[in-house]
């Protein structure tokens, strides 16, 4: 099982890692850029991943998430910019940057002809881990002990993802980077992975979750960076990103007529129609006044409530993507 936060803290305090890592951000990305010819896959991206956070790295497919992670992990050369992982610069000290980092990027990359256990034993050996218990603990953590002796090639997609995560956990890392870990999983499998991510964070680790699934990031993450077309759109605490603007949701009989009417009222920023509901961007203290004006104008208002900002709304607003493309339909 994963060590508790206190156990990890006690273990680290002896070598001084805890003190430095507890203060410094887990990751600092500065102007990271990757060009492929004239195409700029990642364009001067900068953000900070706070220590101990579950950090969502969100963007549509092809936004540049995996390329950015690949650069941070030394898998892809950078065109310019740099990153510091756990205080170590990736250009000058990549081995130390990776020493306490576990990652699964793009897809679980393991040997199909070897068993799950043998794969982990191999990676543990390469990572300088000679304690066989570490392999068993990693298998237990992802609930694969029962199938550990089957070949990786025979695993289901979910089992492969879990073994990939177990590989990332082998070194008992302070920082875990998971790129689209729920890809190809059924809802139950996705839930398992999200629960695992929460357990990892609860044990004191920083987790970076790269995903194109908005609800997944909103459900799990404490912090977020949104990237699109290789550029960082916004970053910050999830609650700050979600509460930048208030809005209310109005159920009204003729929404197409009501929308322009409301739009002309003072203090109203924007009006959208979502699923036959009017979504009005306005200070929620004006809700009563809007209700009154609608009734006075002859509209029949059957519902009015503050709308809980969803990351999806923010994401669509920031990226300018149409709802049908930006919103995920993979809800569980």
């Amino acid at each position: 099982m994963i060590a508790t936060l206190q156990e990890r803290a006690a273990a680290r305090s002896s070598n001084g890692h805890l003190q430095s890592n507890a203060v410094a951000p887990a990751i600092e990305v500065e102007e990271l850029t990757r060009r492929f010819g004239s195409f700029v896959a990642v364009d001067h991206v900068s953000f900070t991943v706070p220590s101990g956070s579950i950090f969502g790295f969100l963007g549509p497919n092809g936004a540049g998430k995996t390329t950015a992670l690949g650069m941070m992990l030394g898998l892809i050369p950078t065109s310019s910019g740099t990153a510091r992982i756990l205080g170590h610069d990736i250009h000058t000290n990549l081995p130390d940057a990776l020493a306490r980092t576990g990652a699964m990027v793009e897809k679980p990359a393991l040997y199909p002809y070897m068993s799950g256990r043998d794969n982990l034993r191999l990676w543990a050996y390469l990572a300088g881990i000679d304690d066989p218990e570490r392999v068993e603990r990693a298998l237990q953590e992802v609930d694969l002990t029962a199938r550990a002796d089957a070949t990786f090639g025979s695993y289901s997609t979910g089992m492969k993802q879990r073994l990939g995560i177990a590989t990332a956990l082998l070194r008992d890392p302070d920082l875990v980077i998971l790129d689209e870990p729920t890809n190809g999983l059924d809802p139950a499998g996705q839930r398992e992975i999200r629960a695992l991510i929460r357990r990892l964070a609860a044990s004191g680790r920083t987790v970076v979750l790269s995903s194109h699934l908005l609800y997944e990031v909103q459900e799990v993450c404490t912090d977020v960076a949104i990237i699109n077309h290789g550029k960082l759109i916004t970053t910050g605490r999830m609650q700050d990103v979600l509460h930048t603007r208030d809005s209310i949701e109005i159920q009204v009989d003729r929404p197409l007529d009501a929308a322009p009417f409301i739009e002309h009222l003072s203090d109203v920023d924007q009006v959208h129609i979502v699923d036959d509901l009017l979504v009005v961007t306005v200070d929620t203290s004006f809700a009563g006044a809007i209700n009154r004006k609608l009734i006075e104008a002859g509209f029949e208002v059957s519902g009015l409530r503050p709308r809980q900002r969803r990351l999806e709304d923010e994401f669509l607003a920031l990226t300018g993507l149409p709802a049908q493309n930006g919103a995920s339909d993979d809800t569980d």
Partner: protein, 289 residues
């Protein structure tokens, strides 16, 4: 940073776990049995089996001499070396190519293995497997020679070959063959890495192995310039070294040794540097796509 020794042992472990390695080992054994079985059958074939009797007789006599020990050692190593080299090329291209296509190369990198140590570890592991293949093949060829001796009625005359000199000569033949194996493993592994393609690494290396000699010979028809062009081919130095494994080896002058050495060292250095530079610049996430 993962030390080379761990990468080397890890590569050996992977090779031993990989079904392809054992398939190639079985192919080696089957080929040796088939070749020696065919050769012994040829020697023992009665006259007039649809083959020109005189030619058959003369071949049979010649074969008999070259198959039975101690001369059989040279024929054996010649056969074994060619087969093991081809199999190591397949293994080298497969090893590097599948690490790129499965993405396991990036898992290695994330576990702290450096690019240059990965390349060195892989080639050393291939060398060890090549040595094992050569030893197994040589033992099979010696068994084949003994079976031949028994089959033609000469019996196993230990005194004519079971000597310290024979063992020493076998060691020298193995050592020379190992140099060739390492060169070919490097060629196949580096071409696969640089081209990011198993097919390219395999195809180019096997083409050089089987056609390099002929190309060199054709170039030699062009006179001195052609001869030197032939000597510049990647296979030329190793081929020249391998000729010393024959029962009657050529005698090389200092000038010959100079170009042989320059060819082997030059190509090894060139390929290694090019591969390391390519590897360092490689987008390992896209490498296998």
């Amino acid at each position: 940073m993962t030390p080379i020794s761990r990468i080397f042992i890890g590569e050996i472990w992977k090779l031993l776990k990989r079904p392809m390695t054992w398939t190639l080992a079985i192919i080696l054994v089957v080929l040796m049995v088939l070749i020696y079985g065919t050769l012994i059958g040829t020697i023992l074939a009665p006259d007039g089996m649809g083959v020109d009797v005189e030619v058959d007789q003369s071949m049979g006599t010649s074969l008999e001499e070259s198959l039975i020990l101690p001369d059989g050692l040279y024929m054996g190593i010649g056969l074994v070396q060619l087969m093991v080299t081809a199999l190591i090329i397949v293994l080298a291209a497969g090893m590097v190519g599948s690490d790129l296509s499965w993405g396991t190369i990036r898992t290695m990198l994330m576990m702290g293995a450096g690019r240059t140590p990965i390349l060195i570890g892989k080639i050393l592991a291939l060398g060890v497997l090549g040595l094992a293949g050569l030893v197994i093949g040589m033992l099979l060829s010696i068994i084949g020679s003994l079976v031949t001796a028994v089959a033609v009625g000469e019996g196993i005359q230990f005194s004519s070959w079971a000597t310290a000199g024979f063992v020493g000569e076998a060691g020298v033949l193995l050592f020379r063959s190992m140099i060739g194996i390492m060169v070919w493993a490097t060629i196949a592994a580096t071409i696969t890495l640089m081209s990011r393609s198993l097919a390219a690494g395999l195809g180019a290396s096997l083409a050089l192995l089987f056609l390099g000699g002929q190309i060199g010979g054709l170039l030699g028809q062009l006179g001195n310039v052609g001869v030197w062009m032939g000597r510049a081919l990647p296979n030329a130095g190793v081929d020249a070294l391998n000729q010393l494994n024959a029962a009657i080896p050529p005698s090389y002058a200092a000038g010959d040794w100079a170009w042989i050495l320059a060819n082997i060292v030059g190509w090894l250095a060139l390929l290694a540097i090019a591969a390391v530079v390519t590897f360092r610049r490689m987008d390992t996430l896209a490498a296998g796509s």
